[in-house]
Assembly symmetry: C2
Homo-oligomer: 247 residues x 2
Amino acid sequence: MSRYDPSAFPPFAVTVDLVLLTVREHELCALLVRRGEPPFQGYWALPGGFVRPGEGLGEAASRELAEETGLRAHASPGQVMAGAHLEQLATYGHPQRDPRMRVVSVAHLALAPDLPTPKPGGDARGARWAPVSELLGPGRTDREPLAFDHELILADGVERARSKIEYSALATAFCPEEFTVGELRRVYEAVWGVVLDPRNFHRKVTGTPGFLVPSGGTTTRQGGRPAQLFKAGGATVLNPPMLRPES
Amino acid sequence: MSRYDPSAFPPFAVTVDLVLLTVREHELCALLVRRGEPPFQGYWALPGGFVRPGEGLGEAASRELAEETGLRAHASPGQVMAGAHLEQLATYGHPQRDPRMRVVSVAHLALAPDLPTPKPGGDARGARWAPVSELLGPGRTDREPLAFDHELILADGVERARSKIEYSALATAFCPEEFTVGELRRVYEAVWGVVLDPRNFHRKVTGTPGFLVPSGGTTTRQGGRPAQLFKAGGATVLNPPMLRPES
DNA sequence: GCAAAAGTGTTGAGAATACACCCATGT
DNA sequence: ACATGGGTGTATTCTCAACACTTTTGC
């Protein structure tokens, strides 16, 4: 049982898959692409692909994200760049998860603002934003399954996003560069599937140092009284955290 | 740029590495093994090895853990079995992290009680429990480095353990099957490197439903007044969480 | 004027801290 | 008797949730 025997290691294929989430029309949505080849031809799947020989895992995820959306982001320290957040999620390596060969997939989680292109077309095949409630909800047993174990990966990604906006400033990754407190609140409401008190929410986020910085302008794009515009502050961890109701 | 092309995928070696932590004499310690072959021959490293062809990632980690300690644990849902906790940590795949070939390592985090064997000998080479303060502390620039990127992996594992005992019942994985509130408190103190108020700690953990269940007995092994013995309760998530001071 | 969304003030409930104090053992 | 750790009570401080109320726009 010698370890690290270079002449005898079993070869694996390594891919990255992307759980790319956004908030559209008050709903948390994930990007899916239609598979053009077997296996699972015609099924919807998470975007992904092989890691190239000289490429790091975060680099590969970043490249896939750029191919699908045009956004630039780096995965290394879980950082936000050019409006998108990218971080490693988990790795899936069940021996039979791909019927052709042994494939280990390093899934990444990406959070992006509502993109202007409704159907991003990095590849020629179809792509769509699907509400996660239609993909994972406990109802709807008639839904068409995703390829491979992508339903599991998606569920893990959604769970991670839901818990991470509690104690980090990541919810701003779902917003455009400038946004109002109300828009940020609607992000929380969509991701958690709850309604929050607008007054307490306002006090909380504006009172957390480093979370939001005023950008000077105002907007009335949501109707009503003009709202102050903010940008994401430097803070990455929220203390005290946002509290999810009904826990 | 066709994806999932079986005839052209670049082959990777896939390993699992273990960040195995325990608390010994009021200190958080990690298990290290001495490398017997190049590269990094003679360096201390995290225990680990190749994933076998028919084996899942959690299975491989579980097997490595058993080889090193004799403990049984399953990694799938991050579960505790036979006194140890095992969960996937993160995956490390920098192209040059192994000088021989392209290796992707799926690191796992394991938490175990103080084991009776001071120097577990799963392999013939040496093994030791090293206090993490000696391996990662900001001082001690003279310390010998670990093999590969294992210092980074260890740091990530320690950080995960520190934050996870805040909002989960995982600290009990560091304790024997039956333990006192004081022993559990000393686990928190060792992992966080702080001192906690024994009175408030006692009220907090005994007041959190499902965290601890009395096992009926008492002990005086810590001296002083006999302390009630507890076992880990079924709860996995702590609500409200334990609060780390000075944040 | 009226609806709609933004923002402020106030109040009461519950949790965390700090610490005084008592309890039950070993030596 | 005394040291040692286990465990309870209590006052102060802080945060959170609930909600009344005011502000500023579009129609």
